[in-house]
Symmetry: C2
Subunit: 156 residues, 2 copies
DNA sequence: GGATGTCATTGGGTTCCCCAACAATAACCA
DNA sequence: TGGTTATTGTTGGGGAACCCAATGACATCC
């Protein structure tokens, strides 16, 4: 260890950029990245991505629903929604039929296979979230959820 | 409103996918996205992105530091770090000189212009974070920071 | 002094995000 | 009624953050 500057003393510096790490936006980004990694890795076992699972879950809850409505409730871009529903339809997890009442819309509905798949991906997602919040007590986890809910809404 | 399915009843449905929205990973993603949007929009006034500000702030705190060390403390990929330091150097905010003690390393150091820029971007970042957590009391904000800190760490 | 590791850099790749356009269709309203 | 306005699904282009692998120059370890 010849050089005199801090960069070579990685191991004993407590934790470097305090200013940045104290910002909620930074911490949120880091925590979200870890959560995404955990969930994505878990869902990869079923060949799905996080957004696939989110859409499938939303379709199950909303019943027959248009893609635009899905995009609105999940905050997904219409462009990406097309690809996601394409994937789910190709795998037989949802059906995409023309809405008889509004010929612009697709009525996206979950299939029997979709329900079976959803049960598994929900288990995987829940387990990943348990790991994500493993350092927290159940009460703290609820606290976190409550706080996040209040700052997550974009507007409205 | 002719169609009978839920997709056309966007306005009165309370809030759709409860199952998804209750997951910490989902809430974290949404909250992080909003935080990123707020900070990014604020920093755009100075022609900088969030990662530029993070690196600049870290360089200011760590003194002359190698890119690898910066990447480690901030969780930034070496590939992206090259581009970020390129940008900061091009704008005269940091200097990149060969480390005399270790010729593999670049000693990245903040410049006078960098310090001036950092003061402004810190103000902008703090203001964006205040807006992000505007719905929270100061105590709740501290609570959130504490909880996030405990789940944000990847491993180690 | 030879194996092993690190540093900066280049390259390739994915996911998610955002904006703009389009034709078809629906809703609005004068 | 008819003409404007809005919405829907789709295609297109592009950016930002992430991840993995490889390279040559250089340090470190044994």
């Amino acid at each position: 260890m010849v050089s005199g500057y801090a960069g070579t003393m990685a191991d004993n510096t407590p934790y470097a950029p305090r200013r940045i790490r104290a910002l909620p936006s930074w911490l949120l980004g880091r925590a979200a990245a870890r959560g995404h990694r955990l969930v994505a890795d878990a869902l990869a076992a079923e060949g799905m991505r996080m957004m696939h699972h989110a859409v499938l879950s939303a379709v199950a809850e909303l019943g027959p629903v248009s893609q635009a409505e899905l995009g609105r409730t999940l905050g997904i871009d219409p462009k990406d929604m097309v690809a996601l529903v394409n994937d789910l339809q190709r795998d037989g997890l949802v059906t995409r039929t023309p809405d008889p009442g509004d010929r612009r819309k697709n009525a996206v509905e979950i299939s029997a296979d979709g329900r079976r798949r959803l049960r598994r991906t929900q288990r995987l997602g829940d387990r990943a979230n348990a790991e994500l919040t493993a350092a927290l007590t159940p009460a703290e986890r609820e606290q976190l959820i409550a706080l996040l809910t209040r700052i997550a809404l974009p507007e409205e």
